[in-house]
Symmetry: C2
Subunit: 319 residues, 2 copies
């Protein structure tokens, strides 16, 4: 495809974007009307929204449009999975400059479509407008399959804390990229295109998870949300965290303790959940800590002490 | 409230925004978790997304934050109503500059909340990020109440075309504002804060509407979407359109044929629908035309002839 989105025009671009989409049985009415219609067999729908900005959440020189599509879909679909729900649909609000090559939004849509496919969902609608800054606003929907949603508020003293998916890989990849390197490839890829364990969300709900969230702000920060919502303290045992040898190598090369990435790196969209102590965790879940009573204020500790290094991710911060 | 959104911080701002929200029985889990949970009693959910940008879709010197909230909610909730559905929920993706007074997003949220209340819905979730241009990305959800969705594709030759709500008022108000005036107030208000006839959407579905859309791009353009999707021609009888005397006065003052506003002005979010010929239209619906067979290509005519003045609204255009 040649030309810019301005040359293609609004309706031309929408035609290009929608022509690339695939569907699922849950999509009763796809793009092209005033609204889409999506099956909600459970009589409830799970819904979540995120906004990604060029320069803030992605860089065109670090990530292809396709990767931005995969990643922005992933972070929303992971939020759905973190409720214990099965993702069904995704809507896209897209701001693009008129001089942007038309291939960019088209490849973005390919990425959204493919990530939706991995999660079992489909892109069902959207809106495209012209503006200065590329902005990707995603809404994802999901179905609870007749289970109660797993919120952040249900962790109880005595529960175990477990995680599945990747921790710190995206942060290590970011560190590599920000120093001008393109390898090790596995970590750079993890930064460009996270792989949330979608299936594990509903499986954890089935298994009786008492609280769950996806790790988007960093493990300590996101466990902090569970601790605050549940009114508990959570202690993480650092020795139970998986720090691959290659991550340690990168840490030595760039002068960062890899534990920092694992504890505070977001964007891998691992799932972290609390379970009753007696739960037999499936193979891909790793126990990493315990829930205790909140003595004064709910908080997260690592090996019994507050984790005081810089952590979390405030989107209004200056980093 | 004092200070900027940067001073308030991401979590401070989110606290302020969510503290102002009200809820409905359909909201099973509101803001604050990974995702919201909304009732979908019909086992299907209607979903639509729109993006509004400062400078392109609203101006801070013309509209208050509250009005932008009302308007951006209205245009999405109207899309839900245009499917014949009852709006249930709204999600907000918001981009704000760090130096924006914190009162702005707070009053925006008040507007979203109040417009949702008018439509019977509630704000259930969102995301706030820092960026250069104020961007309001809205997703609205709705419930079909066990009726089939009224798409754009069901108009049949012989159907009548009818409209309810306001046509051309927002465009006339825009003309007034763009010439530096602030009155007549009713038209300026119509531009700042449309009043879509939400209840009329589900009522039209109940009445057997064969196709429906909300007028967001202009009557001729939006009927064009119905004509194209249904494979029919539509003729509008201009004498059956309501052109209030005051709109004629404004037209004379600014040198514009008010019929132009009524036929091509969007943003009032009137509902236009086709019905079987025998339908007894309720009082607030006005018959304005007829559906005919498409002889060659589907098109919309006014009094039997193509409407060739500038119309519609291409968001990539230079206006």
């Amino acid at each position: 495809m040649k030309g810019t989105v301005g040359e293609l025009g609004e309706f031309g671009l929408i035609r290009e974007l929608t022509s690339r989409l695939t569907t699922t049985p849950a999509v009763q009415l796809g793009p092209g009307d005033d609204a889409a219609v999506v099956a909600a067999p459970d009589r409830r729908v799970v819904a979540t929204t995120d906004v990604l900005l060029e320069g803030r959440h992605f860089r065109r020189d670090w990530s292809t449009a396709y990767d931005v599509g995969r990643k922005s879909a992933a972070q929303n679909l992971a939020d759905v999975a973190a409720m214990g729900a099965v993702p069904t649909a995704l809507l896209l609000g897209l701001v693009v400059p008129a001089d942007l090559p038309a291939t960019w939004p088209v490849e973005l849509m390919d990425g959204l479509r493919d990530e939706c496919h991995v999660a079992g969902a489909a892109v069902v609608g959207g809106d495209v407008v012209r503006g200065e800054t590329i902005t990707v606003a995603i809404t994802a929907l999901g179905d609870l399959r007749n289970r109660e949603p797993v919120t952040r508020a249900g962790a109880r003293p005595g529960d175990i804390v477990a995680v599945t998916g990747w921790l710190g890989w995206s942060a290590a990849g970011y560190a590599v990229l920000s120093r001008g390197f393109r390898s090790p490839r596995a970590f750079v890829e993890a930064h460009r295109r996270p792989e949330p364990p979608y299936h594990a969300g509903p499986a954890a709900a089935e298994l009786g998870a008492t609280a769950m969230t996806d790790v988007s702000d960093g493990l300590v920060a996101d466990l902090g949300h569970i601790a605050a919502a549940s009114g508990v303290c959570i202690d993480v045992t650092s020795g139970d965290l998986d720090i691959p040898a290659q991550m340690t190598d990168i840490g030595q090369a760039v002068g960062v303790d890899p534990l920092q990435w694992v504890l505070t790196g977001g964007e891998d969209h691992a799932l972290v959940a609390t379970f009753p102590q007696s739960t037999k965790l499936p193979a891909r879940w790793r126990m990493i800590g315990r829930v205790d009573k909140a003595l004064s204020t709910p908080q997260v500790t690592v090996d019994g002490a507050p984790w005081d290094k810089a952590g979390g991710w405030d989107h209004f911060g200056d980093d």
